[in-house]
Subunit: 192 residues, 6 copies
């Protein structure tokens, strides 16, 4: 990863971007989730060569935001008058699976509220409609990728804690891992 | 199942969640059905890697609620002004079949009325448009899974009673099984 | 068939339900067609794992009702302000073919008018857009299934009369068979 | 063909029905095209297990009617305020090809104007958007089927005249064949 | 080609029809493109068993007309209040490829303006959104087909001039070929 | 490439056209992206035999424009009242991949603002929703094609600089290559 590539998550200044961790055949990898708003009718657009399960994650994240808008300080009028676009570069690579749920949710809330996601933070976890964060696979590969990319903070489901314990200490050096049960905790950490 | 996983159905405090019983190649399993409302236009959204038969169960449950709204104490205006989202974690697992019908219906009515589903209750049964509850397969495996997960109450179709009778008593210890004919009985038991 | 299963068509008290006769690889079988209305915009919803030909039967039945609403005593305003849902349990079984046409039409008119379908009546026949009732296959198997299920009245197309004549008398004992040319005759008999 | 089957085209009293000639693997066959109107928004519904080419024939016929409504004595307001449904029994048989074009057009205009199609008339021909009638295949088999079914009048494209000339006289006995260039001639003959 | 078939392009009196040149496995062939308007909402309908590339040609032609309406003397209100239908007989033959672009565009503008396309004119060329005319294949076969059908004028892209030069003079006798760069030249020639 | 073909990008006078660089099995190639506006409802139309990834590039470019309209000097009212059509000749060739992103974006902004793209400029780069320009493949083949076609200016992602350094100097003669990080830089260069 050249210096140029690190810039986005290092800065942490641009609202609507969050960093996730993906698990591919060749190991772990960081991925960006970008969310942006534009004048519209409350539509949800998804791009980035996403499979159905990943698209359902975004739909679920969007519904959760709508149901919890008041708590999040987002006006229903804002949601209705804007189209939300979620994009995951890089377009040539097919992506799927539920593990980007927390990342999508964080990017979306960041876009709606204008609050940037914490710098050097990467996360991975499935979300449910009532706001729970479920465990995901490939934890070791994902953490190695996060470290390689210079990330400092990691958010995972509490139910992934046992997977982290099985990894040798030296691989985790420099990573502060926070375990969460639900989306409220994710957002408090990521956007707090 | 770690303590964390049991929390939702133990508490029984959150409206819009119900516990079902699924039958997979590796045995029975409990599954959650989550329903939530958000400002909208009466749409129905479904996520969780659901097959067509399972999606039709949700559509049927939704229609039954619309047709029986008055009896259920739900305003037609509420239905029209809200989008209903039904989600079944976990997104990586394809799910199908009609047996989650009663669970979907219960989660939906719970979301519309704000009344939580009874704690430690799991259910399995196909529903029809006029409100009948039909029998489903895999009863033995489903009951074992329910017990393993610490459930205490089970709702089944009366037409599944013969399947329960064929199971050895010791496998049923700790489970109180209630047989129902129709949705009214399901809701009286689950939300009463 | 346990006593419980017979209840619906025995009673004949619930509007929107009609009994059809299907022909499967393992013989004849009765099937229910359920129709219900709920506040909406004149939409038509179909569930129950139905194939395209069967879905077209429902669309054709719906069009015939719209074109003949006045004669049937159904207000166009009612049709426009309600969504019609047609469901055929059981969701796990794929169903197709045109022979449920008369059953679908009868269930729909029953739902729109609130008049229940005659008790112990089963029917099978394709319908056309101008209201004719066409012959269907599997007559022998269907009649055996109807008798086995305790049905007393059968409605068939006049063009199926020759198929009934080829069946030995003893198989038909207890069944009163009425032959019809068109939908008007079906409805006079079924809802009269 | 039993007497009952002949009734519709013999009578010629019901608007919205026209008789076409199809060419199947087992020879020629007559087919009915039914068109009906019901209160709506100018939609076009097609049923009867129709292939894409056949559906395009109906769409083309519908457009021609819209473009030529004034000449046909049909109000644009009527077209806009009604849904048009075209059905071709029998639903179990897949049907395709462009040769039902003239039949579809005739049934549609009959439905819009309330004028029944001439009794004992069968027709076969592709239509184009500017109203030309193109030749079709299987002429011999179609004419044999028409005669077998008791038809007396046949409408074909002028470009099919050469195909008729190649058929032995005795097969055509009792059939009066009229050749046409365009839709105006079809309608003058069929609805005049 | 019988005399009857030639009538349409000979006359050149009917607006909305243009003649194109197609290249099939059995040689070149002329094809008609028909365009017609009817009261509607600015929709675009396409029929005639067209492949996706050919459909995109029509969409591109339609957009170009919308963007250049003022120059063409077509009112935006007319475009918005009419549905445009483009049909290519014969429905039984699948058609595809971009070479009918100029023909589609000419037929459409002819329909919108009421000016008929020049008699005995055939054309072939891909169009682009900014109005350029690109070269197409099968020039020799197309010109032979045009001559066989009695056409006198041919429109081609300037970039096809080299292909024409490679054809022996005697095959081109009686054909006046005009080369064009862009749609403006096409329309000046075809509708001028 | 004949002189005629070069005209469009040489002139640089027509708004809505940009030149991209594609990588095909037979080497590099220049491609045009055409964008045009017409009265409508803010729709986005895409033609030119484009694959899903390429279509997503256009959707992403469109969203970025909507989100950054003020900065670009484009009125939201203009966006809402116009349909945007993006076309990539030549229709017979399937096209896909994310590398046309910058070209699509440039053509779109050019169409919205009426400012033509710089003459003799070709570009290649993936875009992201927050405006970053990502590297693409086939750099050597693309640059050879650009030179062959007489292009003088090239825009690439900074992350492609290393790929250019690996190419022998003599292949790059006559090409001025500019590296960019984000869309703002692209537009400043291309439309400035
Ligand atoms: Ca990568
Ligand atoms: Ca992730
Ligand atoms: Ca599980
Ligand atoms: Ca269940
Ligand atoms: Ca059964
Ligand atoms: Ca039936
Ligand atoms: Ca037949
Ligand atoms: Ca026909
Ligand atoms: Ca031909
Ligand atoms: Ca052509
Ligand atoms: Ca090329
Ligand atoms: Ca490019």
């Amino acid at each position: 990863p050249a210096p140029v590539e690190r810039e986005p998550y290092r800065a942490g200044k641009l609202a609507g971007v969050a960093v996730g961790l993906a698990w591919t055949q060749v190991g772990g990898e960081i991925l960006y989730v970008e969310a942006s708003l534009s004048p519209g009718k409350g539509g949800l657009q998804q791009t980035g060569n996403l499979g159905n399960v990943m698209k359902e994650s975004a739909i679920t994240a969007r519904s959760w935001i709508k149901s919890n808008a008041e708590k999040l300080g987002i006006e229903q009028e804002t949601i209705k008058a804007q189209d939300l676009h979620v994009h995951v570069p890089e377009g040539a690579t097919p992506k799927d699976g539920p593990s980007a749920g927390v990342t999508m949710l964080s990017a979306m809330v960041s876009a709606y509220t204008g609050r940037p996601v914490k710098a050097y933070l990467a996360m991975s976890g499935e979300i449910t409609l009532r706001g729970r964060v479920l465990p995901v696979g490939g934890i070791k590969e994902k953490l190695l990728a996060a470290r390689r990319a210079g990330m400092k903070h990691i958010l995972l489901s509490k139910l992934n804690e046992k997977n982290v314990r099985e990894i040798e200490e030296r691989y985790l050096k420099g990573l502060a891992i926070t375990y969460v049960d639900n989306m409220d905790e994710v957002l408090t950490f990521a956007l707090g």
